[in-house]
Symmetry: C5
Subunit: 302 residues, 5 copies
């Protein structure tokens, strides 16, 4: 995630990091070159009698295009924001567990439970990003438990089950009544919900037909545009084509980046920083020294 | 559901599987041919004095059309995404039951309950898809129970009732207090909600008048278009008509595909794969060997 | 609700039942005739010097019109879909009550409670539709109870209170602890929520100023249109006017139909069929023979 | 709130009550007169060489205007509908309290609690409307309690606290266990939520910058319009300007009316009628004679 | 937050405080001056043969621009409104705690708990605004506790943990059963949710690529506009350019202001006034003299 004070107007025009420009520049240039060629041909009258230049059909095509881009854009932004909400919920579930375990559990099972929950967050982050997080798991977790978790289909899920086993043990030993067990489990349930939502967003792309239709319409539009523009805009045609291509390809690429918000790209969510917040919450609850908040590096928070 | 790494620009232009093109190609060609005919007639001056060509009325028609297509598109996408969310919720309800039953139930009733829940998921999938799933039900379920379920109006619902009967038996035997029974039943309640939502989406089409109005306006639009275009676009008329038809018919068909997301079409939801996740959760909870995750075949996850 | 397999392109163009065409046809014809008159007058030069024909003002009017129609359309569709969701929730509340009463209640109070709940659904349906449903209430309900219900301001509400009285009696007799009573009442609370939401939708129209503004703008638009079109479209003017009138009056009427979704019109919700699902759930829970699902008659499910 | 059967097309064109026309008529006339003046000047060639008439810039301005009006319109409608939902929730909270108090409380504290809750609803209505409601409070409430409530910063809130005190007294006297107290308080909590949401809507206007920007753009638009129209529309300019002004000023005023939905204007919510529903629910629960439902007077329900 | 009775039409045109005009005026003037220059050059025929003036390309660019501005505007407004909802929820959580603690807790721990909760609200306000609030914390709070809180990474969070410690102490001393502790903690959980949501909104900007794309498209649009306008609008070009720039830059700036709603700018949320409401609720619950509601100063409520 890019975190920076909003730069001035000039700074905004020149900002490169986090922009979609680097990704769509080749496509913009290609469309511009194509428009140059069309203009040159049109200026030499080779298109006469074939195309009578008019922009009006493009306003019609624009209807479908604006529906496609706008629904897709809204949908991907909603995914991004829902993902952020889910990880924001994780923050207060962990904090609440830190608080509620203090009411119902004794020191040792409390520590055990909170470490499982912390490990769950780190493992989930690893699963969503396809990374190994073993080094960042709480060091007090027994290595055999970590090994067993990593041998499962879904290590994060295993850690939640493990937290449930702590509750089961305390309940069966009579140190936790049914109400308290249910109250504590409610937070594990919520964490399970965060995990399922994250997996849903990470593994369910927008309907492929949608991406195809939006992408194709945008490309057809930009490559037909010079024929409509050249009659009215002359040598401004490549400029306009490039600008229109910039906005449409830019929107297309933006939607693509927001569709899967859990990676390490510039506009993805700062899962590392959120997990650090969990580290702090758990450390302070257990009376251990708390690490620092993660800071952005070159405007980017990981 | 189509799952593939986003192909390059060229790959996106050529992708066939999951695209709506195969379904609307005949309609596009027909509209294009009609436009050819109109252009030929117009070029031979047979329309003079009858139609003075202008595109402007189409921007007016476009207002109504864009409202219709955009509301319909948003509504069907929301249905698709809500269906996915419901089945995502099922994932964490099953996992949570696996965890919470470990707190409150003994081994045997726990196994029984989890198998009922698993059977519920498979039976619901079968009901939504109109398929027989008997072979995929947990093999430990007594055949008489399965027979009884299948003889009911709603076999999936019967399995949830059966899970409730396990709780009732344990509660009446005094092995489960009221709080624990209520806590466990909360998850059955949520699964019942997933089922009702799935049935709602599967059995309630968009208001028929809506589909009709959107469909008709799109067709009228595309078949009137050549008369408006031919004056300005000449022999480009069939090309433009075909492209506009592609986007409008494409949107129409896309909405139709997303309206009922539980089938086996390319853009439908991967219910088989989700049920496999349940199989894994339950197997790992019961200490049984867990099956593999389902993999996409030719980019399609069933 | 219209339930039919999507007909082919031709079938969709000709479908009559469930369409808004029958309701707006007179208005379309009137607008078309008016446009004929304007065209005839314009062709005889009587408008010259008064109107210089241009369509451009209509794109401006179109801005306000599209906002009005689109917000109104979205709002009425949301009402329709929320109503469907509420009655879908009723389905799983009834099923859950069938299940949870099996855990906490003995046979007789269970039967009593479920029949009150069933009567609640039927009575609510009757109240929303302004119909008498006495014949369809569960036959085991004492006639005096039914009489008392029907003498109240809100018979459906009385039945829920009656269900609450069953719980109160069992609780005071010590056969139901506080947790169990609260757990059962949670479902009565949810049913009360469904009722309040249904009454809200049935008795709160969209703000009247909204309906007026949308309706008037659409009419002004369609009756001014011929003056703008006649210069460019000649004798095509009545055709275009009729088509534009079809889409705008169609959207207007569609919104009106979806605004109150509880009636018996073609696009209204199938409350009878949903109540039949409740009948089945309760019958199967009580071990009684279950009736058949209701089937659509001439594509319409009541 | 205006409640009337939808009048015919003519009735809709002529309806006055509940329409925004009376509020915006002076502004429409002013814009129309201004347009007359511009047309007269233009006809006498005084604008030549200064303005070359064109409508196209207005389609550009229209982009910003449509975003502003549409977001503002959606936002104010959502406020109106949310307010209605909150007061609809109050209906079923009161009914549920009537039911649940029957399970857990004895006759006297039950009566006391329900009267506090009823007084809460009336007092909140009074606070939102800036009216005195003392005469409509339940007559059995001790005058000293009412006096004390009215001396507080927030009398409605005091009544909920008072209801809580009834629960506290019963709980401390051992007549109400913890579960029952929590169950009953859940409804007071929900009523507290309804109150906070109502206060939020009543006291938080849309961001003022938003209102300003939308208002100003609409006015600038309507007063520049004659310059663009006069070249193409001649003496139709004032007509078109007035119609466009009607739709834009109408939307502006409509948003303003829906922004604060708790007053007594024609499109505001019928809080009196909803409070009467509470009166009925409580009276029937306590076995007292229930008043009649409030009826609309001249189509308006207060 | 600006709170004022809606001024008349003239007052709305002239209002300065809370308007975005002061912030975008330099940019509007710059765009207007640039348009003057372009017009002067065009009038002297220096552009001939290079640009053939036409506005049509701008309607195309307008598609992308309207999607960008509208999605961004909707998203930032939603953030602003969600933030208001969260702080509105805090109001009724505090009031509910005032009520529920009266049921379950004795006087001393009740006072202690409510003061922690009050301190949490003030500290959170301070953290969100980057201000010191020590002077406004409840004076009865022990100084050592406040010191400890301020030494933590997250002082507000510490205060909630402290409230949890009060519950833990009472629970372990046997003065609070499991149900009551869980009931009270539910409100701390909700406050924790308010805090996490506030932090989410305060620390997560919209995706930077979004802001960039919207900003750049708006600027490119406004600086290209004179070339398109000058052919049709002559010396009206600078006027139109300035007006279009006003609406687009205004929307851009508006979105920026709503994106982070917790500051002290004119359109930000009145956190001070909301915290004062908490002060009143807690004071009245504890029988202490309640302070006055905060009043707007020069139309602005802090």
């Amino acid at each position: 995630m890019i975190v920076r004070k909003r730069p001035g107007a000039l700074g905004l025009m020149l900002a490169w990091k986090g922009s979609v420009v680097p990704h769509v520049l080749p496509h913009i240039l290609l469309a511009g070159l194509f428009a140059c060629a069309v203009t040159w041909i049109a200026r030499h009258h080779y298109l006469e009698g074939i195309v009578e230049y008019t922009l009006l059909p493009f306003t019609l095509l624009g209807i479908a295009l604006s529906i496609l881009l706008s629904v897709r854009n809204t949908a991907t932004y909603d995914r991004w924001w829902e993902a952020r909400k889910q990880w924001g919920q994780m923050v207060y579930e962990v904090r609440s567990l830190a608080r509620v375990t203090g009411i119902y559990l004794e020191a040792e099972p409390r520590r055990e439970l909170l470490q499982c929950v912390l490990a769950h967050a780190h493992l989930l982050r690893g699963q969503l990003r396809g990374e190994t997080v073993r080094a960042e798991l709480p060091p007090e977790l027994p290595a055999t438990l970590v090994d067993e978790a990593l041998s499962r289909r879904n290590p994060a899920e295993f850690m939640l089950q493990q937290a449930g086993r702590v509750l089961a043990r305390e309940h069966q030993a009579g140190r936790l009544d049914s109400v308290a067990a249910a109250t504590l489990d409610k937070h594990l349930y919520a964490l399970s919900g965060v995990q399922a939502a994250s997996e849903r967003i990470a593994h369910t792309p927008l309907p492929f037909a949608y991406t195809l239709l939006a992408h194709r319409t945008a490309y057809i539009y930009c490559y037909l545009l010079p024929f409509g523009l050249v009659g009215a805009a002359g040598w401004f045609t490549p400029v306009f084509t490039a600008i229109v291509a910039y906005t449409f390809f830019g929107l297309d690429r933006l939607s693509e980046q927001l569709e899967f918000p859990f990676g390490r790209a510039a506009n993805d969510l700062p899962l590392d920083a959120i997990c650090r917040i969990h580290d702090i919450s758990v450390a302070e609850a257990l009376g251990q020294p708390a690490p620092e908040l993660l800071q952005p590096v070159e405007f980017q928070l990981q």
